[in-house]
Amino acid sequence: MNMTPEQQESGRRNFLKAVAGVPALAAVGGAAALRGPVRGGPVKLGFVGLGGQGRVLLGQTDPHYAEVRALCDVNPGRLAKADAVLSKDGKPAARHYADWQEMLQKEDLEGVVVATPLWTHADIVVGCLEAGKHVLCEKMMAWDVDGCQRMLQAAARAGRVLEIGYQRYYNPVYQAAHEGIVKTGTLGDVYHARLVWHRNGNWRRSEEPPSPDYDPSRWGYPTFDHLLNWRLYHRYSRGLLAELASHQVSIVSWFFGHEPEAVLASGGLYRFVENREVADHVYVTFEYPNGRTATFSSIESNAFDHYYEMYMGTKGTLILKGETEAYLFEEGDRKATGVDVTAKASGPVLDASESRIVDAAGQLASGTTTRTDRLASYRMEVSGFCAAIRVDRPLRCGAERALRSARGCLAAHEAMETKSRVVLT
């Protein structure tokens, strides 16, 4: 899917027109706002897992909302990089830990941000919740449904906040699309959504061990490569379905107002067969009630389409691209809907978007024509987590929704493995 500059311009204009006046993040607690302030300073946070995603969240932690007290990672190299993130923003240094349980014992924390490999989510999150900490855990929720349910139950037992890191829920473009287009029925009846996440690469990270004698076996990884490239091995990961599909499927379920009823999938490990177990090409069909279907494809051999979600309705088409751009086309407007492949080079087209800046209160500032910062979603996610802790502000995603998304993606994994149609009950 690619568009001419004229089509992009037209699609952006239509989108902005449709969502004009819609608050980016719907107001919550309107009546409560009439009461006075609640005492409390920034939330005291610890971070467990400071790989790429953990450091993004660390960098997007607004010091007005949270104070980073402690950093925990089994890889000392990652802690050094996390230090650099803090010092770059002029934030005070945080204490280091390799063991998250030791961190919980020694630090006075209110919340923990967990961004560790998928297979460790359930144990760490349940441990944090049982220690009375609030938790923001990266997606996917857990490696299996049982792990997700343990997390959900632990949060309920402990009476603590548990949010899962689907940052699209905090993205003003998605909020505006939901409020101004999906809820208003602008698209007519939507029978089909297309989810695409295409890349051209082996997904493999390369990095030197922190020291020649570094032993990752203490943490359950036989080699440093397993620790570094955990995404590529079944024991720790659910591959593209967990890391990419779960983001998009969760949003389809939000926009459709239903969860998938059944899943068909195929795919396999076709290109990068060396030192890898998880599929590098995945094709899934998610069946929703009332004849609605979402298809997801993720390939690692071509990046022309890059990543987007397209909702095809009887009256219009909504495209949410790269988490920063949004286009709306009316059905029947041949000029606008005639989306052609342009002669542009392959790869993501990173044109500036006309999305609008979001202020601290989550309102779209009208009249601005600047690109929405993709990182702003992470910033609002961490801030939203802190606000949920301090003043019970409702979570945008929440663990129940995240569990349902995980269930759909794990069913897709099963369908792909067994080459069958898996029915979700």
């Binding site: 107001a27 919550v28 006075g36 302030p37 609640v38 300073g41 007005h64 601290a360 606000a387 003043v391």
Partner: protein
């Protein structure tokens, strides 16, 4: 004039006026003391400080206000203003030491007014309304003057209890009988 010469409606209106002014002062003070705090909507609130207000001050005492806007004075000013607002607010709300509370309110309002006397007659950025010489501070000060001169503590409030304790001796009517 004694309170008893006022009609019941007049007395109620005067005490209501004092109570509302008291609530206004009390909440302004508590809000300033609430930091660190969050709004109910989930946004951390900046620490309140009078520094910006003082730096922007004009009028005859501008130089004094500007000097007070700088450390170490400003921290003291912030605390004194917050506590002053709370004490005045409690006094007027409860009708306790009402006369002193009303004088304190007049002093505070006087300072607020003198620091920013509206002379432009047009609306200012970040402020609602347009004012020429008379603004809400001045109107509230006039209302406090009414509360002060009518001695509302004698109509209703905790001052009545204190008056009762100070005069344990028999009242004149009782002696006469």
């Amino acid at each position: 004039m004694t309170p008893t010469s006022l009609s019941q409606a007049q007395q109620v209106a005067l005490v209501l006026l004092r109570t509302l002014i008291g609530w206004h002062f009390l909440y302004e003070g508590l809000y300033k003391l609430a930091w660190p705090a969050w709004s109910r909507g989930g946004v951390p609130l900046d620490r309140w400080t009078s520094a910006g207000y003082l730096r922007a001050a004009g009028g005859p005492l501008a130089d004094v206000f500007h000097a007070l806007a700088e450390p170490p004075w400003v921290q003291g000013v912030d605390f004194a203003v917050s506590i002053g607002l709370v004490l005045v607010g409690l006094s007027l709300l409860l009708g306790l030491f009402s006369q002193a509370g009303a004088i304190g309110a007049l002093l505070l309002l006087g300072l607020f007014y003198v620091s920013a006397i509206p002379t432009s007659g047009v609306s200012q950025p970040m402020a609602e309304g347009a004012y020429l010489y008379v603004n809400k501070n001045l109107v509230e000060a006039a209302a406090v003057a009414v509360v002060l001169t009518f001695r509302t503590g004698r109509i209703a409030g905790l001052d009545l209890l204190i008056r009762g304790r100070r005069r344990p001796e028999p009242r004149e009517e009782a002696l006469a009988s």
